[in-house]
Symmetry: C2
Amino acid sequence: MPQAPARITALDTHDIRFPTSRELDGSDAMNPDPDYSAAYAVLRTDAEDGPRGHGFTFTIGRGNEVQVAALHALRPHVVGRTVDEVCADPGALSRDLVGDSQLRWLGPEKGVMHMAIGAVVNAVWDLAARRAGKPLWRLLAEADPDWLVGQIDFRYLSDALTPGEALDLLRRGREGAADRTARLIGHGYPAYTTSPGWLGYDDAKLTRLAAEAVAAGFRQIKLKVGADLDDDVRRCRVAREVVGPDVRIAVDANQRWDIDEAIRWTRALAPFDPYWIEEPTSPDDVLGHAAIRRAVAPVRVATGEHVQNRIVFKQLLQTGAVDIVQIDAARVGGVNENLAILLLAAKFGVPVCPHAGGVGLCELVQHLAMFDYVAVTGTTEDRVIEYVDHLHEHFTDPVTIRAGRYTAPTAPGFSAALRPESIARYTFPGGTFWAADPGTAEGHTA
Amino acid sequence: MPQAPARITALDTHDIRFPTSRELDGSDAMNPDPDYSAAYAVLRTDAEDGPRGHGFTFTIGRGNEVQVAALHALRPHVVGRTVDEVCADPGALSRDLVGDSQLRWLGPEKGVMHMAIGAVVNAVWDLAARRAGKPLWRLLAEADPDWLVGQIDFRYLSDALTPGEALDLLRRGREGAADRTARLIGHGYPAYTTSPGWLGYDDAKLTRLAAEAVAAGFRQIKLKVGADLDDDVRRCRVAREVVGPDVRIAVDANQRWDIDEAIRWTRALAPFDPYWIEEPTSPDDVLGHAAIRRAVAPVRVATGEHVQNRIVFKQLLQTGAVDIVQIDAARVGGVNENLAILLLAAKFGVPVCPHAGGVGLCELVQHLAMFDYVAVTGTTEDRVIEYVDHLHEHFTDPVTIRAGRYTAPTAPGFSAALRPESIARYTFPGGTFWAADPGTAEGHTA
């Protein structure tokens, strides 16, 4: 009797919260006291000894339970499918999730529901890569270009990128891919670090951390700005003095400004040679970014961590609104939508410098950047992945940084699995950490 | 001893779902089988015999429970405030809700979290208008222009609309307002009806309902299009034959198309003189709408029911992407954000024709359109409020339509309260309707 095919039997969810606000790690002009959190999903299967798939939405605390509720709403689309089916074609599942006409009303393709879809889609890719015995970057880089094009939803993109153009990009990307894979494994992928630049740190801590970053091999650091101009001028001066003229300093306003203010403020920081200004205004304001970019050149404009989907990225590229595209692995609809965004950026010739940090965003997004290098754009020039030294210890396959560069992951999967001990400790509100500290927990919910 | 001031003591939530999919009411090219639903919120106070405030997010079924979870997340911001405080300045509460830095991460200002904020903000306005003993349209129309400007969050708007410009618009809007109030009460506000045009209706039903619409006094009807071009050509021909040359026919694609397809399809329907093409593509695609508008004139382009916030409306107006702004009372952050959108539209000289239908959207949005007429633009020319004859019987103050026009509401409040019997019957899954029909209920959740 032939065995029944393995199926997905459960989509388990976990509300995980880390008390990061106590140290002002992660503090910026819009987010003074984040508690880095994850609405975490695990796909279980009935395959004997088979792997699980892991995915999550990153949040900064309150509302993480709303993301968990959104994960629950997706269960009927996932549970019961065969493992072979979803791993052979994550794009089909992705389209079903995005296309659920009733759930679509809650977006469409934006916000809580779309991020939950991204978590589930990413969990499927984690499962697929584990089953294939490959890190995700390698699975993508070795995939057939036709199959990869089939993984992309071109709806609302065809005026900027057609399936034929995407196929051409991917076919050209294959040339020399083996050499680049070897180089990636040998040398890693360049990183920059935001760890020195949180707004809540004083000048002494900034100085110390910036010097450590340079000593550790980073060629770019990032400073949060946007709360107080005098402070920012002083902090940029301090940072520039510490790192010298050759290390790039990016500045990040986290959406703090209107257009005119963004232009004024960025010009005031220009004497310290900022490499890019990040999120100068609302992530929804395509025209605003374009106006700012025209006004602040040669300072570059970067955005993307809060850009909701491929349609807004398309317009940022069509209007020449950005110098740098900052993909985020867990904001849009997962790997499939990020494939579209990487190819859009490649077509428009704009470098991708991924957003990371948070909970597990470094772990995820390194795979996408490495795929981009090996099999799409073929270069790391002017490309860097954000690195923040937060919370990596909670992952079973944490990122490794050597001499300011991400090491290519070798473990199968998407590096998305949290350690069981961390889940037990930081589950909210019942985990051992929060249960021991009900006072802090109270600030999170009614 | 002075009495303690009345406070908001609870934010009650209800998951309300109506089984509309059984009749294909509400069916369109993207939403084949909606079950019209509401994540419904009631603000209770400890004021003796004092009114409650009612608000809701409209959804189309699955996922309504995610909206309810988002309402829960807002409770700590609302419960415990004094009634006087929130009613005197709903804008302050609105800014606190939008500005919660941790919840903001889940948007910002879009999707599930933003719609939940809209429901709570609208509930406050319902409470404020009930306490003032006025229908909301009248409360707004009689409000001091300076106070109204203070109700608006100008963040990300200042490149298109300043507080000074808003004040000028509102001061000019006061001229002749008393006459317009009298005319509104005497004659109502023009409506159009979508009831004939759902995609799931056959030609006989379309013919009958279109004829009934004209006989009832409507001067505009709307047809859903976008599933099959041959069908649409036939349906537009049928409708045009029934209503004659002088009744306007709007067509609505519900985001079905990419840019080129939208242009081709709209041109193919042009012989039947469509008044506007609504939602031809993604609501996120500002540039796409602009390209479509250039190509399909003189057919007008309308959008807005899924436009996430004022920032996208701003860009639609800045790029000349739309002929008609379709505000929705329950998609954006409530009355305060809609004030901003009405003033943006007024500044750019683009008429507002609100989206309605669904659950209670007609009840809410009539107030905003009537305020716009009385105290902002001063005209109803080329302005119509959508009307669909669904589910009004569940509201304590349902809309009244006479001779194709909305009658000005006279009851105090925002017309947002559901009848207790309807709540008891259609609460999901425990209400008497759903409990009696567990088979249908099962399609809604895992």
